[in-house]
């Protein structure tokens, strides 16, 4: 087992070219905080990109930031905060969730296509990458996209890297779109709604012109775990919507939203921030010990039915909803879930609702035996395979991370 730590992109290309020549599969990582995401790999060498770090170019009025791929997220976020800007897709901190401790990096966030509660309005990492430099599985340095927010020159290969988990290229330098940070944030909270009523209300809220920037529903068990007293104190379900923007606008929209939805309790800025951080981080709101954890993206309105169907077969399952129902987290007791981690039950429940389910936490054995990512129809799987071949013909970049053959 050798760990290669290239000092720059040229050295990284050198390592990958040598690995390609010798058909030596490489695990690509930097902070390693999301190493447990995806299928366990059997690589004997790894490429640790941690030294490719540092912000290269940041010009706030241009709304773009370019950084080496392993630049710590904390560094980027604090730099943006100093300039009253942010990454609008609200990349969540999954270290608690993954039980990892290292440094979360920009490259990892992009490779895993993360998105937080604002996904419902602002999109995911894929919607905010403008361009990148990387190294493909042939050891060639290449780039796509650019540094400006509007660009249709060539295929959009930047999006393709998002959610590819490092199986197509090592990212070495990334340009992302940044946006102004809202001046004020507040949330509107409703108690005691059933899952069905909560998701219906979420749809209603998102369909008002009040620019709701996040919509979540916490069943009682999840709400009880929140650090926010107003959320945890009543042992009841909590449905919550977020409003952000200039102060006079938020005050006015909050009043309109309350009128349109028939009430609700406002949650002030600090509590609001803490709650949405918890929702993005997932772990604080779910039972953690010896559980399998699933991340489901169903058609939003169908989410409560999916949850119900899983619960009927696996009574230990509990979870919560984000993205107005478009994201459903389910935590299942590992013993009850059995050898497949509950895959069959979860994916059967999802069948009618369409969408996809990813097994985020389970033992290595379970994640090796069941498809971690939703299985694709055969023609689409074959196309994915051909795409992989076009970037990494020898299959040396994170092989098997997404599927047995990818």
């Amino acid at each position: 087992m050798t760990v290669y730590r290239p000092a720059d992109a040229a050295e990284a290309a050198e390592v990958i070219a040598a690995a390609a020549a010798e058909r030596q599969p490489l695990e690509l990582l930097a902070g390693g905080t999301k190493r447990g995401l995806g299928r366990p790999m059997r690589t004997s060498h790894s490429l640790d990109a941690s030294r490719l770090s540092g912000v290269i170019d940041y010009d706030p009025p241009e709304l773009q930031l370019t950084a080496h791929a392993a630049t710590p997220m904390a560094q980027i976020e604090s730099l943006l905060a100093d300039n009253r800007q942010m990454l609008a897709f609200e990349p969540p901190d999954w270290r608690g969730l993954m039980g990892s401790h290292g440094t979360s990096t920009l490259g990892g966030v992009i490779a895993c296509n993360l998105a937080g509660p604002r996904r419902v309005r602002a999109g995911a990492a894929r919607d905010h990458i403008l361009g990148f430099f990387g190294v493909n599985g042939r050891g060639e340095s290449w780039k796509a996209g650019g540094k400006v927010v509007k660009n249709v020159t060539g295929y959009d290969l930047s999006k393709l890297q998002c959610g590819a988990y490092g199986t197509l290229s090592l990212l070495t330098q990334i340009t992302v779109k940044v946006m102004p940070r809202p001046e004020t944030v507040c949330s509107l909270l409703f108690r005691g709604l059933s899952d069905e009523a909560a998701i219906a209300l979420s749809s209603q809220a998102l369909n008002t012109p009040q620019e709701v920037s996040a919509a979540a529903h916490l069943p009682a068990a999840a709400a009880r775990r929140s650090q926010v007293t107003a959320v945890a104190d009543r042992s009841d379900t909590v449905t919550v919507f977020r409003l952000e923007g200039p102060t006079p606008s938020v005050i006015s929209r909050l009043a309109s939203l309350r009128a349109q939805l028939g009430g609700g309790e406002p949650l002030q800025a600090d509590d609001s921030r803490l709650l949405w951080d918890e929702i993005g981080a997932v772990r604080p709101l779910l039972a953690a010990h010896n559980r399998c954890l699933w991340r489901l993206c169903p058609t939003p309105a169908a989410a409560p039915l999916v949850q119900q169907q899983v619960r009927a077969k696996l009574p230990s399952s509990e979870g919560f909803y984000d993205w107005g129902g478009g994201l459903l987290w389910l935590s299942i007791d590992a013993r009850e879930a059995g050898a497949d981690g509950g895959a069959q039950v979860v994916r059967n429940a999802l069948r009618q609702a369409a969408g996809h389910a990813t097994l985020i936490l389970a033992s290595d054995a379970v994640r090796t035996n069941v498809p971690v990512f939703q299985t694709l129809p055969a023609p689409l799987a074959a196309l994915n395979q051909r795409v992989k071949y076009g970037f990494d013909p020898h299959g040396i970049l994170n092989p098997g991370r997404m599927r047995e053959d990818q």
Partner: protein, 496 residues
């Protein structure tokens, strides 16, 4: 003028047979082989290039598209998909030996799902028709290219179309959540859907903006949004381009993302004013239109902020719309800028580069120098919010050599955009027009990697060939693996 791939004489020799076979798939008037009728399809919005297709096919069902693709694939016949034909980069330019696949009969809005905030439509539905279909419930579809009355959503997917509102609301790619497509070998694939993201690689992300080279789109699921409750526009005149540019940067640095922010230079303003009489300040070197949308409290708050910022940057005049009619009037000139320029010049050539906003003053002054060099005038409209520049080069096609000069001038402008850190095209696409300039932005390795994606979808290169790439490689050639491990640049690096 650009060269297209030489037609395959063997295919041309079989034309009658091909037409007959296509008629077995698409009956009646859905197959067009009459020379005079084919003229209607000989070009798109890039009218300098014209080639009638070998045959045009207008299918009505996905199954017919599947059959046409299977037939063309097995017979080795090229296919050029086409929506409304409004592309400004020649994306739908036919091939002499190719089938033109017109998707205009796919005109149905299939489903409006307000609960899940989306609409499912066929690709031939126009951009504006989607907004019309959902307006009774106060919704709209956000991307609004200026051709929105005519251009289709299928074409928007192909070109990743933008519009004046895309800084705040995103391009087509950020507003399309699902596709049904047919591959060149006749497989029907579904990418995305009503849910967020999808399993596997983001093929939806690469399909949008792929210029009809990866597959034929047969169904589109788009995000629909509730309309903002209100909007007001501010018209600001500046005595210098730099003042206008600094004002734009300051508005954004202050944390304001306007619904739209457009700039016109003096020649464009003059043409627009003569056309619509909106009351634009004719003495200004640059005119800025800033639209703020949202609830009344927000719009009022931001209008004040923008007025203050404009004052700081030496605005020579400021006018805030007091009614929706006035707001639309302020926009009318900008929206009609292209036809307005068409009135002051026999022909114009519309360019589409993007630059870092802070370079706008420098780019416009370099362009002024180039005007003298080429002996042609330029009017500029600029999506100032996102740095997307549309220089309109005025020329007269009847004057020998003027078209060639306009093209050379345009190419120089795009090279300049790349030089200052921008890109060749912000929203019109590469197509035929910018194909041979791709090398100014990308290395051969970059372009080969792009073509390897194409190979994954279309290994024989039958879908819309001759577009986007300056040099066409065979997929077998690109698949060859050259190992460079012998050239060791970092001898100290540990070896495997």
């Amino acid at each position: 003028m650009l060269k297209m791939p030489l037609p395959d004489t063997a295919v041309l020799a079989c034309r009658a047979e091909i037409v007959h076979a296509l008629r077995q798939i698409v009956p009646g008037e859905g197959v067009i082989d009459d020379a005079s009728e084919l003229c209607a399809y000989e070009s798109d919005g890039l009218t300098a290039y014209r080639t009638p297709p070998m045959v045009a096919v207008l299918p009505e069902t996905t199954e017919q598209v599947v059959q046409v693709m299977r037939y063309c694939h097995s017979a080795g016949i090229k296919v050029v998909p086409r929506g409304a034909g409004t592309s400004l980069s020649g994306g739908a330019l036919p091939l002499e030996d190719g089938v033109l696949l017109g998707m205009g009969k796919f005109k149905q809005v299939l489903e409006i799902d307000y609960v899940n905030r989306c609409a499912v439509v066929q690709p031939g539905v126009t951009n504006l028709a989607i907004s019309h279909a959902v307006q009774e419930r106060g919704f709209y579809y956000a991307p609004d290219p200026s051709s929105q009355i005519a251009c289709t959503i299928g074409g928007n997917v192909g070109e990743n179309s933008g519009g004046v509102h895309c800084l705040k609301y995103g391009l087509t790619t950020n507003n399309v959540i699902g596709l049904e497509m047919v591959t060149i070998d006749g497989e029907v694939l579904r990418l995305g859907g009503k849910h967020f993201d999808a399993s596997g690689y983001d093929l939806l992300g690469v399909m949008v903006g792929s210029e009809g080279m990866l597959g034929v789109v047969t169904e589109v699921t788009v995000r629909i949004l509730p309309k903002p409750p209100g909007a007001r526009a501010v018209l600001i005149g500046f005595s210098t381009i730099e003042g206008a540019g600094d004002c734009v940067a300051d508005i954004i640095a202050t944390g304001i993302i306007p619904g739209g922010m457009e700039m016109m230079d003096k020649p464009a303003t003059a043409a627009a004013e003569a056309f619509v009489h909106a009351g634009y300040p004719l003495d200004a070197e640059a005119v800025l239109i800033v639209e703020l949308d949202g609830c009344e409290a927000e719009v009022d708050h931001l209008i004040l902020a923008v007025e203050k910022i404009a004052g700081r940057h030496g605005a020579s005049s400021t006018r805030v719309s007091q009614s929706d009619d006035e707001r639309l009037l302020l926009w009318a000139g900008r929206k009609a800028a292209f036809p307005a320029v068409g009135r002051i010049s026999p022909d114009y050539y519309c360019m589409d580069g993007t630059i870092p906003r802070k370079r706008i003053g420098e780019v416009l002054s370099r362009m002024r120098q180039m005007q003298d060099q080429y002996g042609l005038r330029v009017a500029n409209v600029f999506h100032a919010g996102d740095g997307n520049l549309h220089p309109l080069i005025l020329y007269d096609a009847n004057q020998p050599g003027e078209l060639d000069r306009a093209e050379a001038f345009g190419a120089d402008i795009l090279r300049l955009c790349v030089q200052v850190g921008g890109v060749l095209t912000g929203e019109h696409g590469v197509g035929v027009e910018k194909r041979d300039l791709m090398g100014t932005m990308f290395t051969e390795i970059d372009l080969n990697q792009q073509q390897r994606l194409k190979c994954a979808f279309d290994p024989q290169g039958l879908l819309n060939p001759g577009k986007m790439f300056p040099t066409l490689h065979r997929c077998a050639e690109l698949g060859r693996v050259h190992v460079h491990a012998g050239q060791v640049r970092f001898p100290d690096l540990p070896r495997f």
